[in-house]
Symmetry: C2
Subunit: 142 residues, 2 copies
Amino acid sequence: MKIGQLAKRARTPVETIRYYEREALLPEPQRSAANYRHYQQQHLERLLFIRQCRALDLSLAEIRTLLEVKDNPNAACDTANQVLDEHIQHVETRIHELQALAQQLRQLRSKCHSEKAASDCGILQSISKSNATPMPSSSHIK
Amino acid sequence: MKIGQLAKRARTPVETIRYYEREALLPEPQRSAANYRHYQQQHLERLLFIRQCRALDLSLAEIRTLLEVKDNPNAACDTANQVLDEHIQHVETRIHELQALAQQLRQLRSKCHSEKAASDCGILQSISKSNATPMPSSSHIK
DNA sequence: TAAAAACCCTGTACCAACTACAGAGTCAAG
DNA sequence: CTTGACTCTGTAGTTGGTACAGGGTTTTTA
């Protein structure tokens, strides 16, 4: 099948497929006389694997590691487990960060419910609360 | 003060300050005879505002909007509220997405606890489960 | 006072993971 | 046989910076 067909079947933009090839995640397919790419079932499966991993928010580097394990049927899948464990950690950390963030944002938002002028807006004032590191006492502002 | 001083007081890399200037978030400061940037207290305050917003994960575009409101003391702070509301929505959506993701990842991880060969690894097999859009019946795979 | 260290300048390239062209060639349908 | 849909390569843009290279300037130290 040609690249457009593959793109449809994997719900992936054509440019992205070419990008994965450049990144060596997808092997170079055969070419027709007119230099068109021609793909096999294998390519589709590999592309779906990549897209599934991307949907799980794995980075291309992580996916590359998984593909290497996959390409090496005798290798222990140890490495794949490790990639996944680290990624789970990463996602959970990010969730906690975002939860703290949302809390801060809601608190900030609560400071202004009316349509005040900007100069009176509790939100803009709160964000502006100074956070500067003081100058060392020996120096002075020019 | 010179850029290095400003950088220290706002705990912001020098390059980032110059970048904000290029992005027109910070106004161009005066220059010395040797073409060095010289900043005032105002610049520090504005930079701290930007950094505080970044810590809240607001995009530079969102920050630009907030700064415009701030620069216009007579404007209603309406727009600032709206930016914040949308951002809170955005963060909360992302939290839910990541929670679903973490769940999927944990489930996937549970499929392989031993050090099997890659070809037997439940994880790699699970990710590979086909997801392709079928070809229309009229067409065929070349 | 002179050399060395620390600072500053512009401009460019790089990161991830694509996306969006431009400009040219190829193929299928009517 | 022309029109439109597809494909090709190559390059640039996205976000929010970071990291030089290759200069000039200022401050510190010997």
